[in-house]
Structures are given as structure tokens and as C-alpha cells.
């Protein structure tokens, strides 16, 4: 405790944080103030939050958004992580190709991607909401790829793998019980990132005519503004809490690479 307090006071840092804090929190707190107004009594209360969470659709949409985000994370874990581990180990010729592919979604504006998606997939794909996790996965790919890349580059992957293999572990076990635990920092960061992006994705979802938690807010806003503001506040706070919880498990150094 005493140690934390002894950190030198840094005027430039303090000013930076003050300005940023002002810019970030002023709109947020203003909206928050609106969301706790009770027009009937003229005072404050949690009326709109209570209204929102007791609304049948609330649970429906938040659960839907959560499990869609969950599926996106699963795709990341079961496809991206093993593939990248293999790429780093094997020096395969496709590594360069996948390197480039993984960055390509940055080039494509989401609106354009949505148009492409709308006219391309066969009906059985367009009819299931399960198309969304795959599309979210693509949107998150540039960031997820980079964050895993940092993790895999920071460990002596070959040595670890050879040790595990010679101790009798097969490939699957090597990846699940040796490599993932070693790079769990960047895996966690990747999960956090993918999860947050999926949970908040609006453009693609709405243009493909799906309803999730973020699009539901827009719908509610049509006849209950204050309720919609309350939901908006929650849509900011929920990912923030989830991210904080996830990153709490991340060892210090892996978030921004190595210092």
C-alpha cells in the first residue's frame, strides 16, 4: 500500500489522464444521469434499469449475444490457436499466406463486407444465426492473430514441444496441456478481445437483419428513450466488467508485449 502511494507524482501524466478522463467520462456520466431520472417523481431511481432487466427481451437478447460471442471464442480457441501453433512449429509454406490473409479484414470496411455476405451465402447458412460467430471471427482475426503471434514468439516453442513430445504427449495433448498454459496470457487477451468485439458488433449484425443485444437497443429507443439509455449504459458496462475479469487472469507482461 505504502509502496503504491510512493510512486512519484507525474504532472504530464496527471494532465493527460485528466483531459482524457474528462472527454471519456463526461458524456458517459451525463447519459448515466439521464438513465436514472424518474420523470414521474422528478427524482432519481433505478426505474429504467429495473424496467429493462424485467423486460422479457432483455434476457433473451443478452443471452443470445453472450452465446454468439461464446461460439466466436470457441472458434478462436479450437481453430486459430492450434493452427497458429502448428504454423510456428512447422515453418510451413502456407504461413506467409495465412499471415497476409489474417490482416486482410482490416482492409475491408464492415459495410462492404456485409453487402458481400448478404449476396453470397447459401440459404441454409443465411437462415441460421450461427453464421454470425464465423463472421465475427473474421472481423476479430487481425487483432486475435497479432496478439497470439506475440505470445507464440515470446516462448521457446520448439524446445517446449520437443520436451512434451519426448515425454510421450501426443500433438493434441501437447497443444492443450503444454502450449496453451504457457501462452495463456496472450490467449486470455485474445479471448477478451474476440469476446468484446462479438458482444458489441452492430453494423454487420443489423445489415444482415439479425437481432442481438446491440441492435435491440436501437429498437427500444423508438418508444422508450430513457429505458434505451439505461440499456446503453449496461451495454458499455457489461463488456467492461467481463474484460476486466478476464484480464485479471492475464500475467502482467503479456498485454502490451514485452518491456
Amino acid at each position: 500500500m505504502a509502496k503504491a502511494l510512493r510512486i512519484k507524482f507525474q504532472p504530464p501524466l496527471a494532465i493527460t489522464l485528466l483531459i482524457l478522463g474528462f472527454f471519456v467520462f463526461l458524456p458517459m456520466l451525463s447519459a448515466f444521469e439521464y438513465s436514472i431520472r424518474t420523470p414521474l417523481t422528478g427524482g432519481y431511481g433505478w426505474t429504467h434499469y429495473i424496467w429493462a432487466v424485467t423486460e422479457e427481451d432483455f434476457l433473451h437478447y443478452i443471452l443470445r449475444s453472450m452465446w454468439l460471442a461464446g461460439v466466436t471464442v470457441l472458434i478462436t480457441l479450437f481453430v486459430l490457436v492450434p493452427t497458429m501453433t502448428w504454423l510456428h512449429l512447422s515453418n510451413s509454406k502456407v504461413r506467409g499466406l495465412i499471415d497476409g490473409l489474417s490482416l486482410l479484414p482490416l482492409v475491408i470496411p464492415v459495410v462492404a463486407f456485409a453487402v458481400g455476405a448478404q449476396i453470397s451465402f447459401p440459404e441454409f447458412v443465411q437462415n441460421t444465426v450461427l453464421e454470425l460467430p464465423f463472421l465475427y471471427f473474421v472481423l476479430a482475426l487481425p487483432y486475435a492473430y497479432r496478439s497470439l503471434d506475440i505470445g507464440l514468439n515470446s516462448i521457446p516453442l520448439k524446445t517446449i514441444t520437443e520436451a512434451a513430445r519426448s515425454a510421450g504427449a501426443n500433438w493434441l495433448r501437447t497443444i492443450t496441456s503444454v502450449i496453451i498454459p504457457v501462452i495463456r496470457g496472450s490467449v486470455m487477451a485474445t479471448i477478451a478481445l474476440t469476446f468484446a468485439l462479438s458482444l458489441g458488433e452492430y453494423t454487420l449484425t443489423v445489415l444482415l437483419h439479425w437481432d442481438t443485444f446491440p441492435t435491440w437497443v436501437t429498437y427500444v429507443a423508438q418508444d422508450n428513450i430513457l429505458g434505451a439509455i439505461a440499456i446503453s449504459m449496461m451495454s458499455l458496462i457489461i463488456p467492461f466488467l467481463i474484460l476486466t475479469v478476464i484480464t485479471l487472469f492475464v500475467p502482467e507482461r503479456t498485454i502490451q508485449g514485452r518491456k
Binding site: 504530464p12 493527460t16 463526461l26 458524456p27 451525463s30 486459430l80 493452427t83 453470397s120 446491440p214 498485454i255
Partner: protein, 299 residues
């Protein structure tokens, strides 16, 4: 049998191809399939369809229409908002990243990393609400400014105007700058500033000769990425404007929803392709610069 192949003999061509395929490509197949089907395929098809007329013959008419009014203004506005929002956010964002990375405790840096991640992804209706509450006609900041003698709404200002949108965009552009520029700051080694001081350089000389030249490529790269983000933002513009400000993403969205009817069915696709081309002009240099500076960022 199997040993024969391994021992070398002379495996047939087909077999050699098969083993090489199994070894070099098969493990990557799931990822390649997903990216191929859910990403490359729709983009290719988008490009293909953008060259089709209403009766499915080849044409470039869609593109001709796409660069005429009102779409022309849409592109100009979108490029302008991309450039301005990136230009305004880039320097303060870089400075903030610098102070946070060099002066902040590790706890602070982690907190900021998480917060920037969330904030850079805000947009749409929630973001619109926040700014209505702060800078709308009845907003707190509006009232405070009025009290200080500056009436924001005396002129043509509104949150749905170009300037209004610009301010709102900063809300996600600034955190995005912090995110993409921080790695460059982290990669500035302490040895460089110490060596410079030791060799007789003042703080100023260090920045002029070493610090800024090293950060500059990353700064430009970050600027380009911010441009792409502002240029293609859809949700926030959709929530704030009411058709008063033509922007390409909104025009595409309108065509896609069928809210706007166009004589050419595939016009939206052509607009999308032009957006991709413009965005690529910014992102591809970004990627190239990142790759180049990775050389000295490696440790």
C-alpha cells in the same frame, strides 16, 4: 508397406503430392476453409456482382453511377471525416500513449489497455445517447458552455452535422490511437535515450534526431488506420444523422435495406468495392510500415 515409402524407394508423384499436402497444408485447412468461405468468397462475389447489370451481363455502369452525385458527395464527406477525425485524434492520442506508457505504473497501463479496448469499440446508439446527454441541445456541456457565454446551437451546429459527427468520432478514434500507437512507444529503448544523453544530446536533440524519426513511421501508420476506421464507420453515423449528411456507409446501408431504391440493383456492391479500394489505399501502407519497423522493434 509404409516403411517402403519412408525409406525412400521412389514414391509415385501423386503420393508425394499427397504427403506434402498432408504435411504442409492439411493442418491449416480448417482455418483456410473458414477464412475462404466466410471472407474471401463474399468479397470475391461482391467484386464480381458489382460488375453485373440488372440482367446479369457485364457492365461498368454501376461504377459510373457510384462516382456521380449523390454518391460522389458521400465519398468526399466520408474521406473528409476519415481524414479530419484521424488528424485530430492522432497527435493527442500519441501524446497520451507516450505519457501513459512511459510514466504510468503497470496497473495503470493495464487498466487503460482494457478501457481503450472497450471505448474503441463503442458506437451506434449508445454513443449517440452519451453525446446527446452531454452536447445535445439540453446537454450538460452545452448548458455549461452557454453559461460561460458560448451558445453552441446559435449557428448551424448539431450532433448530426459534419462537425458534430467529427466530435463524436473522436470518442472512439482517440482510444484507437492509444491502442495502435502504444507498441511503438514501448519499442523505444531506454538505452537509446541514455546513449544519446551520454553522447551529449539534450532532451530536445534526442527527440529531433532519434525519438521522433523512430516514432514517425508508426505515427503515420496509426494515422492511416484511424483514417480507415473513421472512413468506414457506420453505426454512429447511422444513429446521429437523419439523412442530412451523405456518407458512403449510410448510402450503402440504405441500398441494402431497400429503403432507398436505385435503378441499378448492384449499385450498392459497386459502392462497397470503391470503399474497399479507398480503404486499401490507407491500410496497405499501414501494414507495410508496420512490417518494416518491426525490424528494429524486435528484441
Amino acid at each position: 508397406m509404409t516403411s517402403q515409402v519412408i525409406e525412400g524407394g521412389a514414391p509415385s508423384r501423386g503420393r508425394a503430392f499427397l504427403t506434402s499436402f498432408m504435411k504442409n497444408i492439411l493442418p491449416a485447412a480448417p482455418l483456410l476453409l473458414i477464412v475462404g468461405f466466410f471472407f474471401l468468397f463474399p468479397i470475391t462475389r461482391l467484386i464480381y456482382v458489382s460488375f453485373l447489370s440488372n440482367d446479369n451481363t457485364f457492365t461498368i455502369d454501376n461504377f459510373k453511377t457510384a462516382i456521380q452525385e449523390p454518391y460522389r458527395t458521400g465519398f468526399i464527406n466520408s474521406i473528409k471525416i476519415g481524414v479530419f477525425s484521424a488528424a485530430i485524434a492522432a497527435f493527442p492520442g500519441a501524446l497520451a500513449a507516450y505519457f501513459i506508457e512511459t510514466r504510468g505504473s503497470s496497473k495503470l497501463r493495464r487498466t487503460i489497455a482494457v478501457m481503450s479496448g472497450v471505448l474503441a469499440n463503442t458506437g451506434g446508439v449508445p454513443l449517440a445517447f452519451m453525446f446527446y446527454a452531454a452536447l445535445g441541445i439540453q446537454g450538460y456541456l452545452t448548458k455549461a458552455l452557454k453559461y460561460l457565454g458560448w451558445d453552441l446551437y446559435s449557428g448551424t451546429f448539431s450532433l448530426g452535422s459534419f462537425v458534430g459527427l467529427l466530435i463524436v468520432y473522436l470518442y472512439f478514434q482517440l482510444p484507437l490511437m492509444v491502442i495502435v500507437f502504444s507498441p511503438a512507444i514501448v519499442s523505444l529503448r531506454r538505452e537509446w535515450s541514455e546513449a544519446a544523453r551520454n553522447l551529449g544530446a539534450s532532451q530536445f536533440n534526442y527527440w529531433i534526431r532519434i525519438g521522433i524519426p523512430l516514432l514517425f513511421p508508426s505515427f503515420i501508420a496509426s494515422f492511416l488506420l484511424l483514417f480507415a476506421s473513421g472512413f468506414s464507420a457506420y453505426a454512429t453515423a447511422n444513429a446521429l444523422t437523419v439523412g442530412n449528411l451523405p456518407l458512403t456507409p449510410l448510402q450503402i446501408g440504405g441500398l441494402l435495406d431497400g429503403n432507398v431504391s436505385a435503378a441499378q440493383l448492384n449499385l450498392g456492391k459497386a459502392l462497397g468495392v470503391v470503399m474497399i479500394v479507398i480503404s486499401a489505399c490507407a491500410v496497405i501502407p499501414y501494414l507495410a510500415i508496420q512490417r518494416r519497423s518491426a525490424k528494429w522493434q524486435k528484441r
